[in-house]
Symmetry: C2
Subunit: 481 residues, 2 copies
Amino acid sequence: VRSGLRALSEIRRFDEEADVLVLGLGAAGAAAAIEAARAGARTLVLERASGGGGTSALSGGVLYLGGGTRLQRACGFEDSPEAMFGYLMASVGLDPDEAKTRLYCEGSPEHYEWIVAQGVPFKETFYHGCSGEPPTDDGLVWSGSERCHPYSEIAEPAPRGHVPRHPHQTGHVLMRHLIESAQSAGARIEGDARATALVMDGDGAVVGAVASRFGEEQSFRARGGVILATGGFVNADAMLRRFVPLALRCSLRVGAEGDDGSGIRLGMAAGAATLHMDAASISLPITQPWGLKRGVLVNAQGQRFVNEDAYYGRLGEAALFHQDGRAWLVVDDEVFEEPEYMKRVAAVGGTPAELEAELGLPAGSLVSTLALYNEHAAKGEDPLFAKQAEYLKPLATPPFGAFDCTTEKALYAVFTLGGLASDVDGRVLDPEGVAIPGLFGAGRCTSGIAVGGYSSGLSLGDGTFFGRRAGRAAAARRRSS
Amino acid sequence: VRSGLRALSEIRRFDEEADVLVLGLGAAGAAAAIEAARAGARTLVLERASGGGGTSALSGGVLYLGGGTRLQRACGFEDSPEAMFGYLMASVGLDPDEAKTRLYCEGSPEHYEWIVAQGVPFKETFYHGCSGEPPTDDGLVWSGSERCHPYSEIAEPAPRGHVPRHPHQTGHVLMRHLIESAQSAGARIEGDARATALVMDGDGAVVGAVASRFGEEQSFRARGGVILATGGFVNADAMLRRFVPLALRCSLRVGAEGDDGSGIRLGMAAGAATLHMDAASISLPITQPWGLKRGVLVNAQGQRFVNEDAYYGRLGEAALFHQDGRAWLVVDDEVFEEPEYMKRVAAVGGTPAELEAELGLPAGSLVSTLALYNEHAAKGEDPLFAKQAEYLKPLATPPFGAFDCTTEKALYAVFTLGGLASDVDGRVLDPEGVAIPGLFGAGRCTSGIAVGGYSSGLSLGDGTFFGRRAGRAAAARRRSS
């Protein structure tokens, strides 16, 4: 009777049978399918689109990995699981999952080898600059706030953005290889099949799913388990309104059409708990090229509110969640250069006072902020927000200008981070923390490593890492049954 | 098999039967029981404590009502449902429930008469000052941010805190009368009965509950419906960590022992959706007496971040959620007086620079903030945060002092606002917005009027208001079955 859930007794005869049924063929689903099939499970993947790839294929393709991967070493960087763990626990939001994070950091070097073993190519060169998505085919980039206050004081920084070889935006390269690998391993992939319900037996175990294919309903038995890998909910307006209403104001929703929260709702219908549904990655890529970090980001009161050298994922979260999406990046003539993503100059003035008036900021507010900033910057100091010294210089060369960083005018890129509660083996948990038998999850339909404070590559990273574990756990459940 | 949920087929014989079963005897449960019993339903209330009252009895007793109640008119204040609706929709957080809010505002004058009809006494006098919980037995107080920017520009302000007659902290007066009224109406009350599971039939309808009484399990059939009125989850550490981790840093949790989220988890086990689980009321009562609103509240960067005349519920939310619980209220000798709740002076200095150094704030930061503030305050202006003119005066008379408003040293009083999704008749909803047959909810185990930006009295207000509606709806369901 519950929407999204069907009783086993209602299913007369399953149309197809498998050991492991994977719902969704993005990075998490592909990794789960590869490992389930390799473990000997008859593995079937249902994907609602005609072909696999999902949001992962549309993404920049960065995987956040570290702890001393072969690629990091080849590029001359030292890293350790401890340093990576220290950075993540401090940066990825309030109350991250410690067990998942620890395992992820310790398993990261091996996971990189696994990704490579699926045929994904990486060029062993480092790109300095332009966080997140390099415009070159270099393999390693900075993709977080590792070198910024306060993280640099907490853990030794290292670049951890691992990027498959391709000029810019390489998610499709990653997905092509993962899907080929899943097929080689023996997983069967069916497109145009959108899951509409989970099937539960009388003991409360998930034993299959129902999917809509070309308008007809088909049922699929899963002897070992069903793995939800259906993505987040950035394209579900009703869910955004309930859980992350500010996200509705973002100009760019990062996600394939399928990121409509359907898998999360299927899990909930089966009794799953959700976690961190209010968390989101909010990117405000205003400080590329990096020279723009020498600017000053101010709110509607003309006050600074964050160290401008923080990763653009942090800037977006700070501006949207804590400043109501009202912000401007102030530069002087010396700092000014053409931004990569945000071109709109909100105002120009011959003096800070003129600029302040043009922006409509409270009288004296920006003038006061700049006076204090400049006084300290001249000494290479930033006692308010501890921006790195290399980005500190007084803003004193007219004319002065401000880039518009309001939600109305700037690029705010959002995707959701909240989802089903799961353990380190992908078992989906009920509100009491008890696993729902036969139900697994991975990727952004689950709550993963990042619950805020995003660093690029964490979703492809934890999706593939815990997708693998879910695939193995579901396959093992079949063997033991 | 699911924790918190039992199949009807498992229950051999119910120990007791009722038409309407109410779980929890705080204000919401009492209101539900009164109306269900009056509608002719055999009504049974189970309360886990030995006696009724719950958090409501421990509270200040304020009911946020308006729209032109008899008490407001007797005290010489005009109000309208439109003004109340305008204020609430603008102030109570992101994406409040419009349908509930509209009904609440329109029904508020009648609801006040209903409260009075239960025997709850109100003195028809107004207390000016000291928001929320007057130290006198006056009946009407300001209990929100109605007169502050931006709300005063959105809706005509009126005081809406309705306080049962008693010197200070009058929740127990309210509860004594509501419980007596429930008993007079014929509702039966059983103490020491803690609900541990809901009972669901094969069609997915809730038809009863199981409760633990003196260590034994008893089962209760509910022909019309079960009404969850079990309170919030401020005393459930695990839930706070998941949903409102910053709340764990608050020094005072406002709630009886029973506010452990158990009813919310029962609802979830039956398939209910939750809403706004990250929302909380965070009170930081630092500006009582009101003269202290003339001070300046600064963050760890020495910056102001809110209009200091906002209600203390807003101040707490701003300081905890957006400033990491790091704040100080700066005063000069002229403004200084003994605060009511927060006595700790963090530092004193002969000049703003000395105070700044004593507080360990960044060099020049507080000096700069005060210079700008004073310049405008001298003209009766506050272009940054639009504090009301009566609280604007330059802080220029030494010595200068700062009250400690950090979570470590100050009183932060918290309770949770998130809970089960429900409609205006208390029907508990699943993630698709479909009512779960036979399951109702009211009070703080549901998401109500306030989803942030708290004004005092909203929880007793919406708990009793929607409790009544839930009681009537459950009784009607019995009649139509």
